[in-house]
Symmetry: C2
Subunit: 242 residues, 2 copies
């Protein structure tokens, strides 16, 4: 239960942790409504303002979403979030459009040392490795290698099912109950390999922007490693520092 008094953490923080846990455990599913502030306050024996403060911070963390007059909901992954929150490539006019994707292959393998390290798995654990190319207005622009631990993602890409949706995080959430909450990205400049050059129709050695992303759940468990190599002839990676 909640504790109060000297030396103990503040009430709203305890409530924040409690609400986070309920979301993390799947007690409240993405997209569903949570009890009203007043109900939660009664249940927890605190004032509405205290619950409100906890919820406010979770809204800032993109864990919950408020809708005036309707209620408070667990955030979920829709196309908008994929585009404006997790996708940072824009064309050189600053316009953001999701590229479409086509899968080149999808294989089950033991994790390489690098994959194991990034996903915090033992070397040799089974993983699913997807390679796909992403096109902007029919022009191949990015090559992506996506690595997922085989465990929670069970049958993904099985039975020759290369028909993966464009926005994978929606799939992870709906199909496997795994919600991506944050991601760490490392960007480097690399030279196009022969393989990449062929796919992207560029010269071997052309500089490509490499984005290595580790996607994490709410409790910071890494669940996806994605390495994208992107031609920056007509596009760039956009980041705003506030």
């Amino acid at each position: 239960m909640l504790t109060t008094g000297k030396g103990s953490i503040s009430l709203y923080m305890q409530i924040k942790d409690l609400l986070t846990a309920r979301v993390g455990k799947g007690e409240w599913l993405p997209g569903s409504i949570i009890p009203s502030e007043i109900n939660l306050a009664q249940e927890l024996g605190v004032s509405q303002g205290t619950v409100r403060k906890a919820i406010t911070e979770l809204v800032e963390n993109n864990v919950l979403t408020r809708r005036q007059g309707r209620g408070t909901f667990v955030s979920n992954h829709d196309t908008h979030r994929a585009l404006f929150h997790f996708f940072h490539i824009t064309d050189n006019k600053g316009l953001k459009v999701l590229p479409d994707s086509s899968v080149l292959h999808c294989r089950r393998k033991p994790a390489s040392r690098m994959e194991a390290s990034k996903l915090r798995l033992a070397v040799g654990t089974n993983i699913i490795r997807i390679e796909r190319v992403r096109n902007f207005s029919a022009k191949p622009t990015m090559v992506e290698t996506i690595t997922l631990p085989a465990r929670p993602f069970g049958d993904l890409g099985r039975v020759g099912n290369y028909d993966l949706p464009n926005t994978l995080y929606e799939l992870y959430e709906k199909q496997y109950g795994i919600t991506i909450h944050s991601a760490d990205e490392q960007l480097r400049a690399v030279a196009a390999s022969r393989h990449e050059a062929k796919i992207l129709k560029l010269e071997v050695g052309t500089p490509l922007l490499e984005i290595e992303r580790v996607a994490l759940t709410l409790d910071k468990t890494p669940v996806e490693l994605r390495i994208s190599r992107c031609s920056t002839r007509n596009h760039h990676y956009q980041n705003t520092i506030f």
Copy 2:
């Protein structure tokens, strides 16, 4: 003055705008203390909670900084902010250290079309163009070209004064009263030119990470264009998506 009633914007928003204006106009200088929440509430004829909500959002925007027991201060640029807020290059272990810098040259020129566009100046307006190289543990790693409008930056780099400090935003703030508040960055992969290759001791054509940054003041006026080209052999650009 503050307005209330139907259709008018919320009180705390008006207060937020008012406080922002006072900071923007230099009425309260970076690093200085602002009146206490209680004093502001009395002055403005609202409750402390309302002032508090306005200040809370400005703290989240990095405009103000609270220090418990001491007061609320206008944020300023120190080394910590330069490193953790505006500098995104880390080594491949994830460690962040500021590189040192040495200026190659510093010239006054009319703005190129590109510079004028990015800084929202008329083509041909006088600008200051600084080129410097940045070293990590004595290894040249980044080449930077920094463009500033000559107007507000008066005598910067004049009289052969190539002794610019490493963290320029502190200089802009203290010397010229210009506070950088946010920045837009565009990242691309490019091939090292002969000039860059020589400085960085690399082969011509080596892929470099180009970071094109436009730095803005609180009222979103662009005041610095900075193009960094960075070897990503031992370092990378780190971005976290929450």
